[in-house]
């Protein structure tokens, strides 16, 4: 363990530096609006992977409903952008509301009339929701598979509701704001370098923040309670509080991802609440290595990139391959590709104890 460079904090930070410097150089080399836009979108997926990795990898809380935070904030951002394109005097109501029989703006939409307030709510609502829901669940000591299933049920419930309250959300058709977000009068064009930088700064900043938190005392405690929450409780820590906070932090990152998502695609629909989408996020982190934030990001990039760029003949069996790959990873590499690198590096440096550790890593449950 001691001599494995994988566990050396300086090596880890060096990898972060290399990775983010590499990503930061993308706009220097690429001058293709589609690719920049696509990389920005991958950045959003990377953020989601970080949020899952923080919650599941660091905190041991498997959240199959992360799409909820993502979707809520994506809707919030779409509402902000939609309100920007409305004229407060002549034309205060989004067109779809007129068609659904509303003759005045619902109160919760009017909160999004100011851009600053809209963005604040977009991030605050999912975060507060996490705080509340997480607090309720963790104080009742709901954990493990139960929490996973309940988060899944809640996701389905909210998705159904968003579909049903069509006058306020435009139902299955979703919201397509006609213009990009205007910041101080200038549009944030989804195909521009600036959009890429916005996502890059969020991804880089939040990943580093998450990394710092996992290395803090808080991170150690959270890691410990993943092993044995009971023990942590008897050490004097309020386990529910810690679980709620890591869950909320992860929800906040997903909310930031949701914001960026709508900025990039200018569209949001109940598809963001699809169960399959939330589970896909878990697959990214699972394949990349849930214990490693960077591994999870790379998992998201590999899978989404593969889905976009592997040939069409290959794509027909894409789900099949993804499924098989995932089974193999869960069965043989519970720590994902990052775990594979971990054991390979360990083996290179100090053959004897590392081999022992690698086998320990494989047999370990990795809850």
């Amino acid at each position: 363990m001691s001599s494995n460079p994988y566990h050396d904090k300086r090596c880890q930070w060096l990898m972060y530096l290399v990775f983010f410097a590499g990503v930061g150089l993308i706009p220097v080399f690429i001058d293709d609006a589609f690719l920049l836009n696509q990389f920005a979108l991958y950045g959003v997926f990377g953020l989601l992977a970080v949020s899952i990795s923080l919650c599941w990898g660091a905190g041991g809380i498997l959240n199959l409903g992360q799409g909820l935070m993502f979707g809520l904030s994506a809707y919030g951002m779409a509402m902000t952008m939609q309100m920007q394109s409305q004229d407060p005097i002549n034309n205060p109501i989004p067109p779809f509301m007129l068609n659904n029989g509303l003759d005045h703006l619902p109160w919760f939409w009017s909160l999004f009339s100011s851009t600053g307030g809209g963005i604040f709510l977009t991030l605050a609502v999912p975060t507060l929701f996490c705080l509340l829901f997480g607090g309720l669940m963790f104080s009742a000591r709901v954990s493990g598979p139960f929490f996973a299933i309940i988060s899944l049920a809640l996701l389905s419930a909210v998705g159904t509701l968003v579909l049903d309250i069509q006058p306020y959300t435009n139902g299955a058709n979703g919201i397509s704001p006609p213009m990009p977000l205007q910041i101080f009068g200038a549009p944030l064009d989804p195909y521009s370098t600036s959009m890429f930088w916005v996502v890059f700064v969020c991804l880089c900043g939040l990943t580093v923040l998450a990394k710092l938190i996992t290395q803090s005392k808080f991170g150690q405690i959270v890691h410990a309670l993943k092993n044995d929450p009971e023990r942590v409780r008897f050490l004097g820590y309020n386990v529910a509080l810690y679980e709620t906070l890591i869950y909320t932090l992860s929800g906040f990152i997903a909310a930031v991802a949701g914001c960026c998502f709508t900025l990039i695609v200018q569209y949001v629909s109940p598809a963001q609440f699809d169960v399959a989408f939330s589970i896909t996020m878990v697959i990214w982190a699972g394949i990349g290595g849930r214990l490693s934030l960077l591994g999870s990001i790379i998992g998201a990039l590999l899978i989404q990139g593969g889905q976009s760029y592997l040939g069409d003949s290959f794509l027909n069996s894409w789900m099949l391959i993804l499924g098989l790959f995932f089974i193999v990873v869960v069965r043989f590499l519970p720590r994902g590709l990052a775990g594979l690198i971990e054991s390979v590096l360990g083996r290179l440096r100090t053959p004897e104890p590392a081999a022992h550790e690698a086998s320990a890593a494989l047999t370990k449950s990795g809850s």
């Binding site: 419930a157 089974i327 449950s365």
Partner: protein, 293 residues
């Protein structure tokens, strides 16, 4: 829409039918989860496999529909056996990992079926006598729904018998409670798990053959059942009795809410009610633990 006692009674009767559909979908999951603690996310796809086996049997071999039902059980049970031997048996100690691995299995099954049978929907022909409506005074229910209710009742009875009245059932319960202790009495827990998994998968297949006739056979038909089946199992607490109660309750709530308000809202409310219920009673209605004590 007038709300009268007759329509309300019909809604209650329908709730029973919806409940039996929820329950029969969740029965296999109850047994797998209750015994081995495996969160089988591929359960919906096993239901789908059951539907496709019924379709194949009927279309290619001309087997009559009523015979397709037990045959689907056997075919999907064999599938379950293979999945258990190849994958699940390595993961019993890791419940969250079984959840993830079986999600992988579900992707593979769905895509595999899609590649073989294509995306277009298939359907199943039923005997004429099942395509009719039975009236009891002002109350009425379709013959096929009655078949499903009866089928559910028979299966619950059969499983109660197997679990609580046979030697095999005693072994299953022994393994559920304490694997090590059971092993010291010479019970092979691996074998018990394998058989339960196959049994649970078979039940999913049987449910699939019924659902195939109710609506439509599609590669992604299973995804709709998985969340609702889990809710029944988790609300019930993982025991057979719990699932029966949870299935009946959720079916009635859904039917009555759909009768009073609308279908979509009924679904939303049901999910929220379940989440709130589990917040205050995480062990479910009748936990496997409580019945043990």
């Amino acid at each position: 829409m007038d709300y009268s006692w007759v329509t309300f009674a019909n809604a209650l009767l329908l709730g029973l039918s919806i409940g039996s559909i929820w329950l029969i979908a969740a029965l296999g999951l109850t047994i797998i989860y209750g015994t081995a603690g495996v969160i089988n996310m591929a359960h919906g796809e096993l239901i789908m496999l059951g539907a496709y086996s019924a379709y194949c049997l009927q279309t290619y071999l001309g087997v009559s529909y009523l015979l397709c039902i037990p045959l689907s059980f056997v075919i999907v049970a064999l599938f379950g056996l293979v999945i258990e031997r190849v994958l699940i048996r390595y993961l019993y100690a890791r419940p969250l990992d079984t959840l993830l691995a079986t999600w992988g299995v579900s992707l593979v099954l769905m895509q595999g079926v899609r590649m073989i049978f294509g995306n277009d929907p298939k359907y199943i022909n039923m005997p004429q006598f099942l395509s009719s409506n039975v009236s009891f005074g002002p109350l009425s229910l379709s013959a096929f729904r009655i078949l499903i209710i009866a089928m559910t009742a028979v299966l619950v009875g059969a499983f109660w018998y197997v679990f609580y009245r046979t030697h095999f059932g005693i072994k299953i319960r022994a393994v559920t409670q304490n694997k090590e202790m059971a092993a010291s009495f010479g019970i092979n827990s691996q074998r018990i798990y394998m058989l339960t998994f196959a049994l649970g998968a078979g039940l999913a297949g049987l449910a699939g053959s019924l659902f195939a006739a109710l609506s439509i056979v599609l590669p992604n038909m299973g995804t709709g059942y998985i969340v609702q089946s889990f809710l029944v199992v988790v609300t019930g607490g993982g025991s057979l009795l719990g699932s029966v109660a949870a299935g009946a309750l959720t079916g009635e709530i859904q039917s009555v809410l759909a009768y009073l308000i609308n279908d979509t809202f009924a679904r939303f409310m049901l999910f929220i009610l379940i989440v709130v219920f589990l917040r205050f009673r995480p062990q479910g209605l009748f936990s496997a633990g409580a019945t043990r004590r």
